[in-house]
Amino acid sequence: MNRISKLLFLFIFCFFLVLPSVSADVQRVYDQAGILSDEEVAALEKKAADLFKKWETDFIVITTESTEGLPIMKYMQNFTDQLAKEFNRKKDNMAVITLDMGDRWVDLAGFGRAETYLPDSRLDMIRGEITPSLSAGNYYEAFDLFFDFGDEYLDKHPNIFFNTFFQLALSLGLAGAIVFFMAYTSGGRVTVTSRTYLDESNTKIIDKHDIYLRKTVTRKRKPSSKSGGGGGGISGGGRSHSGSRGRF
């Protein structure tokens, strides 16, 4: 009896030890500029918590009246360095949207898994989609849209090779080609080459010339890899990230 109660106690103790880290959630929406209603903050927190469960990635919203003289990227880096320390995750996966209401700048960033799945190009695209809402003052709608895009893209590796449908099509194509080749060659293959019957001793070049006539040169601009607000970077805390930023 005594042993059972001890075990029970141990079990309950462990349960409470584990429980807080599962249920007690972190804050992900930092509306310092006060542009969202309480209901909107609660809705975004709920959605961010769901997305974390799904992707192990923290979707962070930061709004501020002022970046204290720092460029918005630097401000975001300092802010999230602090958060990363606080969260103390095994994997530092973050998708961050930062609004500077003073200068009206928006910054999107992806850390860890989100850096791979939300590279500069995708963030540029997402920023293009949400900027009209931000300009119109529909901040909640813009954040919600950012969460939706993040959810969608975290499912699709930017390299097409990791796309399930692409893999399926590739393996079916490969199998088809191999089996077709097997069926085609089942009746025996031609094994003589172009040189089999060539009489090397009598074959020769009697006369030849190669005269230079003219040349043409065409040029095209190098495709610039960075457009708009210029990509990602590395934070003061040594965390590398993808990024896209611009005015709204």
């Binding site: 893999q167 393996s171 079916l172 009746g187 019957y197 006369d207 190669d210 040029r219 601009r221």
Partner: protein, 329 residues
Amino acid sequence: MAFDAETGKLTCGSCGRQDNIEDFSDEFIETVFDEDEAKEYQCENCGAVIVTDGDTTATTCSFCASPVVLADRLSGILAPSLVIPFTITKKQAEEAFIKWCRKGLLTPKGFMSADRIKKITGIYVPFWLYDLKNDAEVKAIGTRVRTYTRGDYIYTETKYYDVYRKLRVDFCQVPVDASQKMDDKLMDKLEPFHYNELKDFKTPYLAGYIAEKYNYDANELFPRVKEKMSGPLNDYIRSTMSGYSSIQFKQKDIQTAKKKSLYTLLPVWMVYYDFEQSEHTFAMNGQTGKVVGKPPLSKGKIAAWFGGIAGGSFLIMKIISFIVTGGVF
């Protein structure tokens, strides 16, 4: 007495006597008859009357099974110049064919056992071996493309050249099958034959085998050999123009002449195989053992291979993504 593929000698199956064929006299092919004159022959062994079709030059007596060589169809303009004797015996041919059937990855299971070989026949198929001389004069525009980067621009520089070649391209001993009965594509796939075993023709090589005379003479088949060698000829011409990114031919004058054409008998084992109420015909190179011919294909095996390869490669790709992307699909 019949030709023995293992020793290359004329051998008597009963007493074991062996005659060297190279020393054999040509007396049998001295007499000249009109080629269509006789279709009935008398077996020298048992005296029975043998009826052959118009193309046969060697066969076996259907009564006593002794070899019959129809000398009149191997003389005059019909006299072969060269022959490659069989080096694969009937038994070896059968074994090689069974082995080949077992290797078939898409053939039905019942076919792979190769237990329904209906007939296996050694045939000397008439071929013409052509020596060809090609005089080619070619004019073309060649380009060399170079790309480089200066500042913010990528430059593509294309240089044009006037390319001229005057060539002599010879081919030797190109085989073209001269029998109407044989499928040209099948015979082309039987190549290559090794010419170091070419022998001057003597009738005893044919003993015990079936042989055919040619249906098309060397001039009639000249267009076919020209067509057959046009690929290799163009490959050679292109190979003399190395270093160009692209070649656009402006003018191509090719004169092909026949230097020599030799009437040659090449050894082929024909295998007739009954499978599911239909007969399948295969040919085997009687010198190298290479088998050609369309085997039946099993739908089940095709589906299994397709499914296996598709499933396997899909799984491998998934595993790679799993490792690279860190565990989440």
